[in-house]
Amino acid sequence: MTMDPAAELGADGAPASSPAAPPRSGFFGDFLNPVLVKEIRQSQRGKVFAISLIVTVLLALLACTIMALEITDRTAQPGRDFFAAVYAFLCGAVLLVVPFQAFHAMGSEWDDHTFEMLVLSNLKPRQIVVGKILAGFVQALLFFAAFMPFLAVAFLLRGVDVLVLAVILGLTAFASLWLTTVSIMFSTLTRNRFLRVIMMVMLGGALVGTIAAASGLGNELMRQPDQITDWQFWLAMPQLLAVATFGGFLALFISCNVLSHAEENRSTNVRVLISVGTLLFLIAMAVNATVPTPRMPREPLFGLTIFAMFGLALAGVFLCTEPDRLGRRVAPTVPKSGVAALLTLPWFPGRGRGVLFFLLHVAALVVGALCLAAFTGGRGMTIVGSSGYVDNDPIMNDGGLGLLVAAVYVLLYTLLPIGICSLFLGTSDRSRKIVRVLAILSPAFFILAPAVLGLLIGSGPMRDMWHVGNGPLMIGESFDGSLYDPEAFVFLILPLVLVGLLLALPSVFRALRETSRLSSGKETAAAAPSTEA
């Protein structure tokens, strides 16, 4: 500072005149995330954490005391009952209180007008979000530590397998971390207090449901510990954890992007994550189609790929409705080499680039799944012989056609509504939000509008939603290789998809032109007006 501190320093660097030195944190404390330090200090002083810790521990103690009084010589393995009671309260603490507090901690940054002060400091949005997630995790660990004596008692009372206990506690800690991340993401989505209250109620309901599910799953694993020694458990669990981790990172990136400056690149990290997720998905499918015996049949392979494609479509709605042009802070980061600029183009923000990214990944999923089905030796499930799946149906009859039809509907439900709505609603921030909502709701429109028409004109099949607008019906019907109403599909659905692609084409050309100009240095970053928001 240019002000003269005029203060003599004490041994720790704080002036001797200072009545209270800054809280000490040691050498490593200096390198801790400041938000983590602040949140922990606040929760130490705050009432919520202390009260919830005391209440849950007292309730667990009460439950254990009651159960201890009921133990008789004939009670078999009372440790399991102890565990069930203690674990329910532990779940309540780490799967409800901790995520809820994280949601509140993020929301209070808006309500208390402190967020802008954080933004103006040296902290990056990532540090703010990660600090709050870690603070939640530290609180969860404190709850685990507080419950450890109860769990030890449950173990000593017999009936609790150490490996199962470790797996359950590990999964619970992971779930707490995941729920905290997702809760923070929801809290960043709106600064409107009313909307946040609605979100809080919904989140509360979801978290209570999660507690019930986790508690049930924990007890199930505890009562049937053999499940954990089954190799299938260890094949499935990493894949489930990978999916959850992907979701967690997506939530983290979304939170960071929402908090970052409007001119920053808010899209590339999500795009890269989706690309990595797509690759991991295909690798997981390849493992499942080659490693286990019997190998994963083609139908679930295609079925899971279809689910992945619809997940991609949801992300695609956001990517394909971004502002057309690159922000003023993003434009200078376009590679100067023409080839590199072209190759990295789909991973940069912007509507046209989003369309390319979306098409590229849909194609990757379709081609990847078909190649896996063709080359990994997987078979269909239609004929099950004594040695496994032995049918020799062509791929198209084992769900391949369903996959292709699904790709068509994914494009139909995404590109067509976005293209049409953008034509009429423009490209302002507000319009983009409306387009996104309409695009997400468009499958319902495609399914229900013909049904209403069928009701009016007295067409039974249409009224019963047996029509080509019903994507799930068409995908399901085509899974065995036969297409429902092929004429309508070819002469109505495919042309509509083509219209969607044509409507997206101008933005793709604009993106190509802009990238070309930026990479050749004809357009400077300062000259590029920002529309990024």
Binding site: T2, L9, P19, P22, D30, P34, Q42, T114, M117, L120
Partner: protein, 311 residues
């Protein structure tokens, strides 16, 4: 030399409303600039753009030569923004609050302890260091916020209505702090509705109305400019009617009238000409008892520059 702040033609629209319309001005190091304008004139929006919190639709802002559009993070290291609605964390002491923001600004170890002690000394927050923020008065919270704003030694301070809601003593103390900051070489952009206080602390003022910058200049110059159209009150010995006729004939005099024995008129020229007028009146036999121009203050400057346009 690079200006501490250069606002270059910024425009910001919120729907159909132009909150800021092609505003340009600059501040040198050590300059304390009062940013004045009616409610909704665009002061806060301009300050938020300078602070990188809002983006201009057009134009750019340079802090110490660094663009807010191109390098927001670099700019943030150079500015200290004290918003009108500043926040304070609950269940946190003054020292913890400052420690957190010092960490957030990347200060570590002894440097952090030293800096916190410095700002506490400067803002005289010693007795409150271990107090919970919730228990502080508004004036003390304002000091704490200023202390937090100073932690990273910013070159430019942006203070949005810092004196709002403060009692007279706290306002005087805040004014002294701001003056000291200006003396230490920091540029300060300060908005306030209390114009008399701004006049005492500011080197220059920028007047904004309906999103447009109406005037920007040194306080003395602007007052002098306003004083050129000053209302003069003259009391004479003897025949006031005759004196009124004489005065009305003089150059630069308009609207001369007799009001309860006093002759009042507008004089549309500078101090030199006014002295010549007095000498000429005496030469023509008028015997002035009092001859005074009403003191010009920032309110006069403000009223003469603005038109009361609402948006």
């Amino acid at each position: 030399m690079t200006s501490a702040l250069e606002v270059r033609g910024i425009t910001k629209e919120f729907g159909a409303t132009k909150a800021v319309d092609n505003v340009s001005f600059s501040l040198d190091a050590g300059e304390i600039c009062g940013f004045i304008g009616p409610n909704g004139a665009g002061k806060t929006t301009t300050m938020r753009i300078v602070s990188t919190l809002e983006l201009p639709d057009r134009g750019d802002v340079f802090v110490d030569g660094v663009s807010v559009l191109g390098s927001a993070r670099e700019v943030r290291a150079k500015i200290g923004f004290m918003p009108d609605a500043y926040g304070a964390y609950s269940a946190t002491t003054v020292m913890e609050y400052l420690d957190f923001f010092a960490r957030a600004h990347g200060l570590r170890g002894r440097a952090r302890a030293h800096t916190i002690a410095s700002v506490i000394d400067f803002t005289a927050l010693h007795p409150l260091a271990t107090k919970n923020i919730d228990a502080l008065s508004k004036g003390m919270k304002q000091r704490l916020c200023l202390a937090k704003t100073l932690l990273h030694d910013p070159k430019l301070l942006i203070l949005d209505e810092p004196a709002a809601g403060l009692d007279p003593r706290a306002r005087v103390e805040l004014r002294e702090l701001v003056s000291a900051l200006g003396d230490s070489g920091k540029a300060v952009l300060l908005s306030s509705h209390i114009l008399t206080e701004l006049a005492e602390v500011c080197d220059s003022v920028a007047v904004i109305e309906a999103g447009k910058l109406q005037a920007k200049g040194r306080v003395d110059d602007m007052m002098r400019e306003t004083r050129a159209h000053a209302d003069v009150v003259c009391r004479v010995l003897g025949d006031a009617e005759a004196a009124l006729r004489t005065i009305a004939e003089m150059p630069h005099v308009t609207g001369a009238r007799l009001d309860q024995g006093n002759i009042t008129f507008s004089f549309t020229s500078g101090d030199q000409e006014r002295a010549q007028l007095l000498a000429e009146l005496v030469r023509r036999g008028v015997q002035p008892l009092d001859f005074a121009a009403r003191d010009t203050n920032l309110e006069d400057v403000f009223l003469s520059v603005t038109q009361g346009t609402l948006q």
